[in-house]
């Protein structure tokens, strides 16, 4: 069986090609980013014209897919590849399986309701298209040749015109790579109390995050700081849940943390069943005590 990988970053190409190699005899990589060699049997590279958007490369992608004879498509979930994967799925009379973080015998495991559930699903169609989350496969395992073929951009009949592009500023919140996180919840009665969490976080070199009510209820935090369903999913070494009750909708965002430490004034809060170390107490007493002691 042949597999078709659709990716735009080098990391994405490596991981997906490594995954494709496990399930297919032959792997074709299609990319409109830099060509990547040594990961697939053939790298098809397409240069997007200056005034076109990559999403409109779908006639070329679909044609290359047809020529490859592949029955399985692994796609990187970037904005543009997600569009192309949808176009390709429609072309192959199927629907793409989204948010895949494990794939075995054609059955994909995906997050459901932002992690409230885990869904297993399987395409019933001739062709299977999967959008694969980063980290699902080990990119160092990818093997392949140095063959690169250029593919021509075939414009669709009606297409978008790209007028300009600009680099985006980097966000100063980086929860994904933080090894310590101090997350604040509804236990903070006043916005100024957050300073206690910030002081503690800066003492131990942690990022400050929040539960949903503090980002979408009262707007004390930007959306990027919110951990949980439809927010960020984090896995630091140490996660402090301060004034967070421990509802499932929050915990799915931090369940993979190394150690979970809870501070809550309600001894019946569900967080105490999901932490390694906890204290029943007022965060206004506990946080300053920690800041002072550490």
């Amino acid at each position: 069986m042949n597999a078709f990988v659709l990716a735009e970053t080098e990391n994405g190409a490596r991981e997906l090609c490594a995954g494709a190699r496990q399930i297919a005899d032959e792997v074709t990589l299609f990319t409109f980013g830099n060509a990547v060699t040594g990961v697939a049997d053939k790298c098809l590279h397409l240069q997007i014209p200056e005034d076109a958007i990559a999403d409109d490369a779908y006639p070329s992608v679909n044609e290359s897919f047809d020529a490859s004879g592949a029955k399985v498509v692994l796609a990187e979930p970037t904005v543009r590849v997600t569009s192309l994967a949808g176009r390709l799925a429609a072309h192959a009379n199927t629907a793409a399986v989204p948010g895949v973080n494990a794939l075995k015998d054609g059955v994909a495991t995906s997050v459901y309701f932002g992690g409230t559930g885990v869904k297993e699903s399987k395409p019933e169609t001739d062709v299977s298209v999967y959008l694969i989350s980063a980290g699902t496969f080990d990119g160092t395992q990818a093997t392949g040749t140095d063959t690169v073929e250029e593919v021509e951009f075939k414009a669709p009949e009606k297409l978008a015109v790209k007028k300009g592009t600009a680099a985006l500023p980097k966000s100063d919140i980086d929860l994904a790579s933080a090894d310590k996180i101090v997350a604040c919840g509804r236990g903070f009665a006043k916005e100024e109390d957050l300073q206690l969490a910030r002081d503690f976080a800066s003492k131990i070199g942690a990022e400050v995050a929040c539960s949903r009510p503090l980002s979408e209820g009262v707007n004390w935090f930007p959306r990027e700081a919110y951990v949980g369903v439809s927010g960020a999913v984090v896995k630091p070494d140490v996660y402090f849940a301060v004034g967070i009750s421990g509802q499932m909708q929050h915990m799915v965002g931090c369940n993979d943390s190394g150690t979970v430490i809870a501070i809550n004034s309600d001894k019946n809060a569900p967080i105490f069943k999901q932490c390694d170390v906890g204290i029943v107490g007022d965060l206004k007493d506990v946080l300053p005590a920690l800041t002072k002691a550490l």
């Binding site: 970053t9 309701f113 932002g114 019933e124 669709p156 790209k162 592009t165 932490c275 107490g281 550490l294």
Partner: protein, 252 residues
């Protein structure tokens, strides 16, 4: 211009609980408009308000319980003129292709249109696929992830953010555009809007036939909970706070 906005009616994830067998129970959950579809409705309403003489109709496909009077009113209180809803239990949990096939039927019933706006992704699968599948079903261009959307001299002007760069795009209509949640904060409808919503036209119909699905759902379960030590101190005990601080020191 004539604008359509597609939205999904879903159980409120805050009301979903885990049953003793590990399955998810949404039977007591309220039906709501999927969170980011509210941003899509707002973006569509703002586009309508910025272009005099425009119309805005909402389209939605879902199970029978999606035909919920409060939720329908909610949609119609947000600047939407008319609702087209296909509600039928054969339309529950459809994959993106089947959803797009059914939405396309509603699009054809909703009259002339220039642009169809869809949200970033729905609360359940967050597939980001229904918009592009709908564009394929209707054979029109598609742009994903708009953070700004306007209509100038007959074209859509779109800004969007990719992973590390932004793009300015011009797109001729008709087209399908998915919008990023940050494009517009959903409005809070006033009492007058809610009262007026009750009088706006609603076209609710059953499915013509069960659509063909491409993906089979094998199982849906709650995620496994991590095993934790649960060493809990009490600050009201004399030494509770000190012991807790020592335990934290050990972890760090």
């Amino acid at each position: 211009m004539n604008i359509l906005v597609a939205c999904k009616i879903v159980p409120d994830d805050q009301d979903i609980t885990v049953a003793s067998d590990g399955s998810l129970d949404s039977s007591r959950a309220h039906e709501i408009v999927s969170q980011y579809d509210l941003n899509a409705i707002e973006a569509a309403a703002q586009l309508k308000e910025a272009n005099e003489g425009s119309t805005l109709k909402a389209i939605s496909v879902g199970p029978k319980k999606a035909d919920d009077s409060k939720t329908k009113k909610d949609i119609l209180s947000r600047g939407v003129d008319e609702l087209y809803l296909m509600a039928d239990d054969s339309l529950a949990d459809l994959d993106s292709r089947a959803t797009a096939t059914e939405l396309a039927k509603l699009v054809n019933k909703a009259g002339d249109w220039d642009v169809i706006i869809v949200g970033d992704g729905s609360a359940d699968d967050y597939a980001k696929q229904t918009g592009v599948q709908l564009a394929c079903a209707l054979d029109v261009p598609y742009v994903a992830g708009a953070t700004n959307l306007s209509f100038q001299e007959g074209n859509l002007e779109i800004q969007r953010n990719l992973e590390s760069e932004s793009e300015d795009i011009e797109l001729a209509v008709p087209a399908v555009v998915s919008v990023s949640p940050e494009i517009a904060e959903p409005r809070i409808a006033g009492m007058r809007d809610i009262l007026k919503a009750g009088k706006k036209p609603q076209n609710v119909e059953a499915a013509e036939e069960k659509p063909e699905e491409s993906i089979e759902t094998v199982s849906i379960k709650a995620p496994k909970q991590a095993d934790r030590k649960q060493e809990v101190f009490d600050a009201s005990d004399g030494e509770g706070l000190d012991k807790f601080v020592s335990a934290v020191k050990e972890v760090l």
